[in-house]
């Protein structure tokens, strides 16, 4: 059952206190206002942004900041493209490699299974900073410094996807697979034609989470990407903040460009994302 489904409350049928709504609207306001300010400021002129910061309504309304960004000294469109390519490629690699590995760990018997699973899970608890310097050297040796390969490949090796999908595969009823096996289907067919189609919701959730993680990563790309044209959007924003410091409209426009894709993705996949997060505490 879904972790956030409404629970039946026999005997507790009082009306919800109005203060509950007051509280929820207040929190919503605190969350939304800064984001609203970001969007609105991106449509301000430089002068407007600096001279009337307390008034969020652009006067005049202008898309100059976006025009400046598109034609400016920093290749933000290239960064956007790099981010899309890297996040998409990494998501695909994770879906393929993690689903196959998770299937083996969930359904197949093999020598060393407990050790392999134990090692994979143990790395979930290791903080990312442990990998920062050694992976920098590995990526350097592979000739991937300052290239998108550094953004795509190392991050696709994390244990989360395997752990996440294994949990889901285990929860699938084994009867269908057993019936297929009786009918003579091999492991590859069962995986491809039965397990994967049944797992579409979990695969979709993992895809969204992987895309978001890669899109938003910051510490790794700021160190392994060097040339302006090779950056992704997050390190790009750091550059924009340096280049345009008090041209707040332009910096906010960059932040909007980096936000819109993930906000759209979140709106579309809100239910899956929130569910998977809700379950993390209960099952974790």
């Amino acid at each position: 059952m879904s972790a956030l489904a409404p629970t039946k409350r026999r005997g507790l049928a009082q009306r919800t206190h109005p203060l509950v709504y007051v509280g929820l609207y207040l929190v919503s306001l605190v969350i939304v206002l800064p984001l609203l300010w970001m969007f609105l400021t991106s449509f301000k002129t430089d002068f407007d942004a600096i001279s009337s910061p307390a008034n969020p309504i652009p006067n005049p309304f202008t898309v100059d900041a976006y025009v400046t960004l598109a034609g400016g000294s920093q290749p933000i469109l290239q960064w956007f493209l790099n981010s899309v390519i890297a996040a998409t490629a990494q998501t695909l690699i994770i879906l393929v490699t993690a689903s196959a590995a998770a299937y083996a760990l969930a359904r197949l018997e093999f020598v060393g299974k407990r050790i392999v699973f134990g090692i994979i899970i143990a790395t979930l608890l290791v903080p990312g900073v442990i990998f920062l310097i050694p992976n920098y050297l590995i990526v350097q040796n592979l000739g991937w410094l300052d290239s998108l390969w550094a953004i795509i490949i190392p991050g696709s090796a994390g244990a989360f996807g395997v752990f996440f999908l294994r949990q889901f595969f285990i929860s699938l009823p084994a009867e269908i697979e057993e019936a297929a096996r009786v009918d003579g289907a091999g492991d590859f067919r069962i995986f491809w034609q039965i397990v994967l189609p049944l797992s579409r919701p979990a695969l979709a959730t993992l895809a969204v989470l992987s895309f978001l993680t890669n899109w938003n990563d910051f510490i790794w790309p700021i160190y392994v990407l060097l040339s302006p044209e090779n950056l992704t959007l997050q390190p790009g924003l750091a550059v924009l903040q340096g280049t345009y410091s008090t041209h707040f409209g332009i910096v906010m426009a960059g932040a909007v460009i980096a936000s819109v894709p993930v906000l759209i993705l979140f709106t579309l996949a809100q239910k899956q994302i929130v569910e998977s997060v809700a379950n993390s505490g209960i099952k974790g």
């Binding site: 919503s28 760990l105 990998f131 090796a157 244990a159 938003n216 903040q241 707040f248 505490g281």
Partner: protein, 288 residues
Amino acid sequence: MGRRSAIAYLFLAPFLILFSVFVLGPAIYGLWISLHVWNPLLDNHPFVGLQNYIDLFTPGSLTSGDFWKSMGATGIFTVASVPLLLLIPLGIAMLLNNRVRGGSVFRGIFFAPYVLGVAVISVLWRYLLDPQLGVVNALIGQDIPWTVQVPWAWISLVGITVWWTLGLNTIILLAGLKGISAELYEAAAIDGAGPWRKFTSVTLPGLRPVMTFVVTVTILASANMFGQAYLITKGGPGTDTRTAIMYIADQGLTQNQMGAATAMSYLLFAVLAAVSVLNFRLQRDNTL
């Protein structure tokens, strides 16, 4: 190896290759690096045994002062942010645990900042909190040095982080609240328990397993703080808000002191592991 095992390893192979090269390998390689003076620009990396670790515990060594100051900064941030990231989300989750019209919309709004990258929320708040030209000072008519003086810089970093990630803990705690049986509340009501008594006798004990998870994850996340300080305060004023991760990354990847930096990262890991174990023990023994 039997045929069954061979097939299983065929399934595992693509992941295990990546995992070995970019996760397991680096974890061990990092330990190896930490036993050397390792400047990536030089061909020769002299083996020094545990010297990099010993240096971190030797007052007056090249690294110990700055390292422990950065650990202290991480500690301040963690101690200040974790209670807020437990209490505020718990309060919001309890609000959402009522019959609320539009509950999923509220959940979506509260979670939304978390899907934005640290760079986005940092440049946004860097603008809002700009001491001279920012929105917040303009709104309240003050000249508060939000990003350039302590303790304001800490207040800003903690507040921004709470704003950014409160939705995450809210959602997890809400799921925990939903898992508490309504019968327990009814029984408490029959026994004459008021709201506070219900909270301490039913809600908190019922949340304990989820709370242990949330506390651990939140401590680890706070202890790994990097982007906010990197972009908003640049570690300043001076190096007051330079966190351990910032110092390690700077030493290893900018100053080319990779041996010392990897030693620091393993020491940080050890501290975090100890804190996690301690937290699990405390929560298990705690009979609230």
